[in-house]
């Protein structure tokens, strides 16, 4: 069981990074981005294609893919913040559902529906703990999750940019009237989360089932993790991701529980919602 749990830590780090992105998006630009993982998938697929079919050196292809992921995210953000500036989180998020569909279909058209020949950027073990091998991928994903969460927290609480961002998310119109460059800042948030998502998927994809749908659907466990922090707290999002990954890893050790394993993110979502929504809350302020 412990072995499985540690093996699941790589996936846990991946969930945690995506969950941090989802939390940042939800807090700062009022969107639950269903296309979060799909953006990363698309960027990383383009990277693979550039290197395999385009003959670019691998590092360059990866960098271009990551940049494209960021750019794509900015583009989606531009549509959302231009067309739906005053809309509620629900409608703004619904647009990203359409984007999710769009990106999966586009990747089928461009790259076919077979898994892609990803080159592993990181391979091999990093170290062993009590006979269990911890891979380099695990170390990097977990470290990334923690570092990004910390960095985001520092930026948000200690820098002027962070304070503007928080003002923007709480009172968008007021913030804009105060002269905060709303559009540029939200584009930056979209871009940053797009870049991060693509980076993490590029790192993890070689060791995952990496067809377009599976990668895009990583948003489900990520959302489960983000829910632990109520789409607001970064630290809990990281914890949620790691725990979820380890739980799935542990369950994978028992063959009879494989069906249960599939439902773990879903059950986590439902459980967390029942718990966090136990207090009666009404839809609008008054």
């Amino acid at each position: 069981m412990v072995q499985g749990a540690l093996a699941g830590l790589a996936a846990g780090g991946l969930y945690a990074v995506l969950a941090v992105c989802l939390t940042l998006m939800s807090r700062l630009v009022r969107v639950v981005n269903f296309a979060q993982a799909a953006t990363g998938m698309f960027g990383s697929y383009v990277g693979v294609a550039l290197s395999v079919h385009g003959g670019l050196p691998e590092w360059l292809a990866v960098v271009l893919g990551v940049l494209l992921g960021g750019l794509l995210s900015v583009l989606i953000g531009w549509v959302v913040s231009t067309w739906l500036a005053e809309a509620g989180t629900g409608t703004r998020s619904a647009v990203t559902v359409a984007v999710l569909l769009l990106l999966i279909s586009l990747s089928f058209i461009l790259f076919g529906n077979k898994p892609q020949p990803f080159q592993a950027l990181l391979a091999g073990p990093a170290f062993t703990v009590g006979g269990v091998v911890i891979s380099q991928v695990t170390v990097v994903t977990v470290a990334l999750a923690v570092v990004i969460a910390f960095a985001a927290r520092l930026i948000l609480t200690k820098t002027p940019v962070g304070i503007s961002l928080r003002a923007l998310s709480e009172r968008p119109t007021t913030a804009e009237l105060l002269g905060i460059p709303a559009k540029r800042l939200s584009a930056a948030v979209w871009g940053a989360t797009g870049l991060i998502s693509t980076v993490i998927i590029v790192i993890v994809a070689p060791s995952q089932s990496n067809d377009a749908t599976s990668l895009a659907m990583l948003v489900v466990p990520a959302a489960a993790a983000a829910l632990l922090g109520g789409f607001r707290r970064l630290d809990l999002a990281v914890v949620g991701g790691l725990v979820l990954g380890m739980l799935q890893g542990a369950l994978a050790q028992v063959d009879q529980l494989s069906v249960v394993r599939n439902f773990v993110p879903f059950l986590a979502i439902v459980g967390l919602l029942v718990w966090s929504q136990r207090k009666e809350v009404w839809d609008a302020a008054r």
Binding site: L100, A223, F266, L273
Partner: protein
């Protein structure tokens, strides 16, 4: 069938006529189509039923559901399993059971999602779709691996006859959805999509409204999955993949599937677009790209295909209707105020460190009008929220007709305490008549409604609410609650949104409310002219405490009130 209500004949007649015509069209198509087109026709019908369900949950009730085909898979599973088990009852019975099973699962999924605003439900349903997909691929449907196919009933064995059967099932589903939507259930869906608070204040259960929309939608999904199984003979996980559910959701948005004809139109697109792309040699995935782009456009409020087509079809006048209210000549009749009917004792509300209300006592006399005034931030709206049950943390007691008033807003509304809101809480998808019936929780006679609307200068009952301006909508809200015949109605600045010269005319009407409708009134109002003309008694709030209370003239002459609230005597 989308026309305004014109009495019982059109209410029941028009949909039935449309249904009969649809059956005839179905029969005509059955004769006219060759096998392959009949097969495609079945696909259209299957998609139309699933879209009809999405139209209920997303279109009417405003929730995002991303697992419609997972419910389809449940229907398909039940039909396949019953077929393998050779259960009695035959295909149509199994189909029904499959739909019901999906409906039950829908309720189970919806239960935790109850308190959730739309976006959490989206996360839940996408999670279910993803989990179910992986699992179905692992374990497969019953009978697929052993080659036990689901056979169509012998009477409808060929594609053309089966198509006709599917059309009939679709028509039944459409009729059920149509009548549900026209009734109080449908109004509660429209209300909950617009405002949960407004729904609860009308004495409707937010929980039931959401769950029933979700259950109806899931049941329709299950039926469509069952029909698909007998179309192909076997159920395959690929037919129910999450990607397809996402596409169906986007299609429902872009086609405007809350309209029955547009659900069918969307289903035609669902089948025709990939089919045409195939004939033109274009990869079929472009179909989803097109749906995705049109979906983004529709979600961004740039209009969906369904409404665009309807606008072309019949150009409706878009002029907005407002309030026409004039001052009365005669002095309105008044009831002598009686014993207190609503008694509030020691009401306190704190938000964190802020004391919004502390120890407030007040009483609304039977047959009277109590005014609550006070400067901004005095706690007036908090008072209404606390009395009507929207602030469960409130301390103190509220008694209505000598019985303690407790519970959530829905229960309080049902026990005879109604309230209106400062902000617009009137859902725009209904007609005035449907809304009034919904709020009244009964079917008041048409002339009673017409008289009440006319009394307050509102537009006629058949007017759609999306054509009614804000001021008039707030009065329609008042009329709806009066039709519910509560013991007490709390009005939170009802005249805001009306032109000032109509305030007095409105006040004269309000003055007659106890005598005319048998309803006692508590009114919060800023306009002192209105307050003076309407209220027998006044309670003044300041910083969450009662500053003065009593007959109007006394209170307004109280030096403490003058100093704290009014400041300048010339306002009096």
């Amino acid at each position: 069938m989308q026309l305004a209500d014109r009495g019982a004949v059109s209410r029941f007649g028009t949909p039935l006529v449309v249904a009969v015509v649809a059956v005839l069209v179905g029969i005509g198509l059955t004769v006219g189509l060759n096998g392959y087109f009949a097969y495609l026709g079945v696909s259209v019908v299957v998609a139309a039923i699933a879209l009809l369900g999405l139209g209920v949950v997303t279109g009417s009730a405003g929730m995002i559901s991303l697992c419609q085909l997972t419910f389809g898979a449940i229907g398909a599973w039940v039909v396949s399993a019953l077929n393998v088990a050779n259960a009695p009852g035959g295909f149509l019975f199994w189909l029904l059971l499959g739909g019901l099973a999906a409906g039950v699962v829908g309720v189970l999924i919806g239960l935790p999602a109850l308190r959730l605003r739309g976006i959490n439900l989206a996360v839940v349903t996408l999670g279910l779709a993803a989990a179910a997909d992986v699992t179905l691929v692992e374990i497969q449907f019953p009978g697929t691996t052993d080659g036990v196919s689901v056979d169509r009933p012998s009477l409808v064995a060929d594609d053309n006859a089966y198509f006709l059967l599917c059309v009939i099932v679709l028509i039944i589903c459409a009729l059920v959805v149509h009548f549900l939507r026209r009734g109080p259930r449908g109004s509660s869906w429209a209300a909950v999509a617009f405002s949960e608070r407004g729904t609860a204040a009308a004495g409707a259960s937010v929980r039931t409204a959401k769950l029933s929309a979700f259950a109806v939608s899931a049941t329709l999904g299950g039926i469509s999955g069952g029909l698909l199984t007998a179309q192909v003979g076997f159920a395959f996980p690929t037919s129910f993949a999450p990607l397809q559910s996402l596409a169906l959701y986007v299609l429902a948005i872009m086609s405007g599937a809350h309209l029955i004809d547009m659900a069918v139109f969307g289903a035609v697109l669902w089948v025709a677009v990939p089919e045409l792309l195939k004939r033109w040699g274009v990869p079929q995935d472009w179909g989803y790209v097109i749906f995705g782009l049109l979906g983004i456009q529709a979600l961004a409020g740039r209009g969906n295909l369904g409404t665009a087509i309807r606008e072309l079809w019949r150009r409706r006048s878009r002029a907005s209707a407002g309030v026409q209210i004039t001052a009365l000549d005669e002095d309105p009749p008044r009831l002598p105020p009686g014993e207190p009917v609503l008694v509030v004792r020691g009401l306190s509300v704190t938000f964190g460190q802020v004391k919004a209300l502390s120890g407030v006592d007040l009483a609304v006399p039977k047959g009277g009008v109590l005014g609550v005034i006070g400067p901004n931030g005095a706690g007036k709206s908090t008072l209404v929220d606390a009395i009507s049950g929207f602030l469960p943390q409130a301390q103190g007691t509220v008694e209505l007709a000598d019985r303690p008033l407790t519970g959530n807003p829905t229960q309080r509304a049902r026990s005879g305490l109604r309230r209106t809101f400062q902000q617009d809480r009137v859902p725009s998808g209904l007609t005035i008549e449907a809304y009034v019936r919904f709020v009244a929780r009964r079917r008041p006679p048409a002339d009673e409604v017409a008289a009440a609307l006319e009394f307050f200068g509102c537009p006629p009952a058949a007017t759609p609410l999306d054509r009614v301006d804000v001021g008039a909508r707030r009065l329609v809200e008042v009329v709806g609650h009066l039709m519910a015949k509560p013991q007490v109605l709390l009005l939170d600045e009802p005249a805001a949104g009306l032109p000032h010269e109509e305030h007095v005319a409105f006040g004269e009407r309000l003055r007659q409310v106890p005598a005319r409708f048998g309803v006692s009134v508590l009114i919060i109002e800023h306009d002192l002219d209105l307050v003076r003309s309407v209220c027998d008694t006044l309670t003044v709030l300041d910083f969450g405490e009662v500053l003065a209370s009593g007959p109007q003239a006394e209170v307004l002459a109280d030096p403490a009130v003058l100093k704290a609230y009014l400041g300048e005597t010339e306002m009096l």
